[in-house]
């Protein structure tokens, strides 16, 4: 420091803040902003990279799935069931007393508004992780017409809710949105 500034020599503004205080605060603030801008990319590089993010969501063409049919696909290395419910199956799911279910959820809560016929769930039984039957043609759909897990006999209804057997919760509905009438994005 070239000069020693004391309270006597300091030129105090009317507010009591010296010009040097202002310059110090401004300089430290500027350096702090620069430090944050420097550190940000060094920390951000630890976040999921673009190739990982690209794998985390899939787009599925559902135009070929007729009413009453369903398909199996995979997402994040896990099976996904996409089912086009019939009117009867929707009516059956809505007729159930939700309060009496083990994992109370309505069909509307598990589907997208306006597209209640598209039931999209993980094909992983919530008991011990087997792949339930019922998605492919000719497979046993269980006592409630939805999915049936052959490992320990969990029965899921037409909204893929657990109705009978050891599984504790409904089949998981992954985050999804309809990009158009025929394409759904999962994840």
């Amino acid at each position: 420091m070239a000069t020693v500034e004391t309270a006597d020599t300091a030129v105090a503004e009317e507010s009591g803040v010296r010009r040097r205080d202002f310059i110090n605060i401004a300089a430290v603030s500027f350096a702090g902003a620069g430090a944050v801008a420097t550190v940000f990319p060094l920390v951000n590089q630890m976040n999921p990279s673009a190739d990982v993010l690209a794998l985390s969501s899939i787009e599925v063409d559902i135009s070929a799935i007729e009413t009453g049919q369903s398909i199996k696909t995979s997402w994040r290395k896990q099976p996904i069931f996409i089912r086009n419910l019939t009117e009867a199956e929707i009516a059956e799911a809505n007729a159930v007393d939700v309060a009496g279910l083990r994992d109370p959820e309505t069909l509307a809560e598990r589907t997208t508004a306006g597209k209640e016929n598209w039931l999209i769930t993980l094909g992983v039984c919530t008991h011990l992780g087997c792949v339930p039957l019922g998605a492919a043609q000719g497979e046993i759909k269980g006592e409630f017409g939805g999915y049936f897990c052959p490992c320990h006999g969990s029965h899921y209804d037409t909204a893929a809710r657990i109705r009978k057997g050891p599984a504790p919760t409904n089949l998981v509905v992954p985050e999804h949105e309809f990009l158009s009438d025929t394409v759904v994005k999962i994840g």
Binding site: F40, P41, L42, N44, N47
Partner: protein, 126 residues
């Protein structure tokens, strides 16, 4: 690097005194580059290149360690891992360019720093 004739580091706030007792890092900075390290009046801008070389060394170490986290030193996948850094890793392209250009600037700074010591006179008053 503290000198008996230099200005002593005296923290004024309670926190400053507590910090100086626990971990005298501010004292170290003060005695190295602050007012506790008096320097001749006739230093010119050529004296910046020493700390600049030190800064570039830190940049090379930090970016180099980060790049090593994403690089695969295997002839079969090395090229792909570099492309992965350039395309996929967040800010990876900037970290790699900082490492490449930082190497060049490290040499520029270090040569000017050495040259400043060897030159007979580089703007000093002598």
């Amino acid at each position: 690097m503290s000198f008996p004739w230099a200005k002593e580091y005296t923290p004024t706030t309670d926190f400053g005194q507590w910090m100086d007792k626990q971990l005298p890092l501010p004292r170290f900075v003060y005695n190295s580059v602050g007012a506790g390290y008096p320097a001749p009046r006739n230093l010119n801008y050529m004296w910046n290149f020493g700390s600049m070389a030190g800064l570039f060394l830190v940049i090379q170490i930090v970016t180099g360690i980060i790049l090593a986290m994403h690089y695969a030193a295997n002839a079969g996948v090395a090229f792909d891992s570099v492309e992965h850094i350039m395309r996929d890793v967040n800010s990876g392209w900037m970290i790699r360019y900082a490492h490449a250009n930082g190497a060049s600037f490290f040499f520029i700074a270090i040569y000017l720093h050495i040259g400043r010591g060897h030159a007979k006179c580089c703007g000093c008053s002598a």
